[in-house]
């Protein structure tokens, strides 16, 4: 008993030391992050953290942002919402960061939004859901395209090809469900009819049953929202059953892995993707091309194949850096105001134009519709 009291006192003393230490560090910009570096969403958090570390080291070695060095504090949430909450609490109260970048998943971000709003710390999320920025929260921003934009981009293309009847097939993950909801909500706006709404489990091994049901409807195109191995199985099953309908996948499978897994069955599949995966195929006049190639080359020289997820972290970091530069201060409120004024920032996700009513600032043109041909991406015009 006595011993444990002593332990607690020692711990409290240590905490006190920490907090005085952090408070005394004045002339640095403190960026905190809480990303899912390990755990089920590590394919998001891992490249995000590597990107942040690489560029922060680079900025610091070049003397910081106009002389202000960046102090980077990172916690790994393992994609657990409870951990995300604890770590963000720590970032705000103990580490007293000026800006927070994260989390990797929509769940982690939504879990901490109230906390961050109350503490008045600007946060730039790297997660997809439209719920993060709608309705607009004063201190919350994000850089990745929303699932609604992906659905809209797909529907735009379907409409342009003259189709009207859509069969939807989605998994049971958060990404899938959110994508499905956006598709159902957006379809009437584009004059499309959803004639089938099939579901599968993300660890399922066979979707021929669902596709057989789709085959018996009068659907003209199939849209699949999901990521991981399930979309590849769906794609193969569609081909196996001899279904000839055009297939759309979401930005969730915008990686070479999908082409590798689905093999020949992937030929002709269309999907909306951020510029990064088609960087070298963009015309030289594209304002994004230079930024994309620079990021891709820097990342691949150090870590191996680039992913769009790391790109979201790149965008968040440089939006922050630009905001600090134009604010000329590390004051949280001033940084927030400058982030909101971001105009014409060329990032990996597109060209960002934020406003008080739009805390993402990307238009539909930031997505490129690509088709898979001969095992590679081809831009669709």
């Amino acid at each position: 008993m006595y011993k444990s009291v002593r332990m607690i006192m020692a711990f409290a003393a240590a905490l006190l030391l920490c907090s005085t230490y952090t408070a005394s560090a004045g002339d640095t910009l403190k960026i905190g992050s809480f990303l899912a570096v390990t755990g089920p969403a590590s394919f998001l958090g891992d490249p995000e953290l590597k990107t942040l570390q690489m560029y922060i080291d680079d900025i610091n070695s070049k003397g910081g942002i106009d002389g202000t060095k960046i102090d980077f504090i990172h916690y790994d949430t393992k994609a657990k919402a409870k951990d995300a909450k604890n770590f963000v609490n720590r970032l705000i109260k103990k580490d007293r960061v000026d800006v927070i970048i994260g989390g990797s998943t929509s769940g982690n971000t939504i879990a901490v939004m109230d906390l961050v709003e109350k503490a008045h710390v600007p946060l730039i999320s790297l997660a997809g859901s439209v719920k993060i920025i709608e309705p607009v929260k004063k201190w919350i921003f994000k850089t990745p395209h929303t699932d609604r934009m992906a659905a809209a981009k797909i529907f735009e293309d379907i409409k342009a090809r003259g189709f009207n009847k859509v069969a939807l097939i989605t998994g049971n993950g958060g990404f899938d469900k959110s994508g499905r909801a956006q598709c159902l909500a957006l379809a009437p706006k584009y004059g499309l009819v959803i004639v089938a709404d099939e579901k599968y489990g993300n660890s399922d091994t066979d979707m021929t049953t669902q596709i057989t049901k789709i085959r018996s409807t009068d659907a003209e195109v199939i849209v699949n929202f999901g990521f991981g191995k399930a979309p590849a199985i769906v794609t193969k099953n569609i081909r196996q059953l001899g279904v000839k309908l055009p297939l759309y996948q979401s930005h969730g499978v915008a990686s070479k892995k999908f082409i590798e897994l689905a093999g020949e069955a992937a030929e002709g599949v269309r999907l909306p993707a951020a510029g990064l995966i088609v960087a070298d195929k963009l015309p030289d006049t594209d304002p994004q091309k230079r930024v994309l190639l620079a990021y891709k080359n820097a990342y691949e020289a150090k870590y191996g194949p680039v992913s769009t997820f790391g790109g979201h972290a790149y965008d968040a970091l440089f939006i922050t850096v630009n905001a600090v530069r134009s604010a000329g201060s590390t004051d949280r409120a001033k940084i927030r105001d400058e982030i909101e004024k971001t105009k014409g920032f060329v990032g990996t996700g597109g060209i960002f134009n934020m406003s008080p009513s739009d805390h993402l600032g990307l238009g539909l043109d930031s997505f490129h519709m690509v088709e898979i041909k001969n095992g590679d991406w081809v831009l669709v015009n």
Binding site: T205, D206, T212, G242, K257
Partner: protein
């Protein structure tokens, strides 16, 4: 509608074949030691992953598959030797907990060795769909069904006709009596784990060209295989096979006819219903309780 039904059945039987093999693996270890080995799903994953990486390293396809089966058997036997045998005086529940620990360990090891990526294997022969009426199936579906049937027959033969097989069954009936008549109980357990791992590896290799695999794909297959074994009656090898096929078909028909959103729920409701009516499972003997 009949065309659709036929397609649902084909899908169900393919998926069910894998459940059956995993369920059979559960049954063999259960029969030998009354222990439910929760690392069974990991055997499936290890078989598939080793095959993939041997094949990628340039080993000819058939040899890669054979070597993967041997590697998995070695893992199964090591598991018995290093984790189960040292705890041979522990209660059944303790041993089951050890297998849960082993499954987490194997999953972690696979994550460290092979990473988090998803991998596939090429199909055994050309991937041209075969049409039967309006329904289609892949040659690989036939390999899955045929491979399962062969494995089941071989296991059946082993336990019914060979001395070793009968000795393993004797161990489960009465361990003390078995050792008194000169059966080496430890060795029989080792063989049982080896065969279970072998079945797991076969399941993994057969199905990966269709379903892909990753370090964590053993969890769900293990759970479904366990359900198959329970449904058929724990301890009955033919029961596990029937349970697996039935589970696959129920899932597929449930998804096809009722709603794909409730596919797993429908399957679990059926299992619960069966267990309420026949607690010993479909083919389990009613007097399974020993004193």
């Amino acid at each position: 509608m009949t065309d659709q039904l036929f397609q649902f059945l084909i899908s169900g039987i393919t998926v069910g074949s894998v459940y059956a093999l995993v369920g059979l693996g559960f049954t063999i270890i259960y029969n030998a030691s009354d222990v439910v080995n929760f690392a069974q799903g990991e055997f499936v994953m290890i078989g598939a992953m080793s095959a993939i990486f041997l094949y990628r390293a340039g080993v000819p396809y058939p040899f890669a598959l054979a070597a993967a089966v041997l590697i998995t058997m070695a893992v199964g036997m090591l598991l018995e030797k290093l984790a189960i045998e040292p705890a041979k005086n522990a209660s059944v529940v303790t041993t089951i907990i050890i297998t849960i620990g082993a499954s987490i360990f194997l999953r972690g090891a696979a994550l460290l060795i092979w990473g988090k990526d998803i991998y596939g294997l090429p199909p055994f022969t050309k991937d041209v769909p075969i049409s039967i009426g309006n329904a289609t199936l892949l040659p690989q579906n036939l390999y899955v069904m045929g491979g399962t049937a062969l494995a089941v027959l071989a296991v059946r033969y082993f336990f019914d006709k060979t001395i070793t097989g009968k000795a393993i069954l004797a161990c489960s009936c009465n361990r003390k009596a078995a050792s008194l008549v000169g059966i080496n109980v430890n060795r029989m357990l080792l063989i049982a784990y080896g065969i279970s791992a072998l079945l797991g590896a076969i399941a993994g290799i057969l199905v990966t060209p269709i379903t892909y695999t990753s370090y964590d794909s053993g969890v769900m297959l293990g759970l479904k295989g366990f359900c198959a074994a329970i449904l058929g009656g724990m301890g009955s090898s033919m029961g596990a096979v029937a349970g697996g096929l039935l589970l696959g078909v129920i899932e597929s028909l449930g998804a096809g006819i009722i709603s794909s959103g409730y596919k797993d729920a429908i399957a679990f409701v059926v299992i619960l219903a069966v267990l309420f009516i026949r607690p010993s499972g479909l083919l389990g003997s009613a007097d399974a309780e020993r004193v």
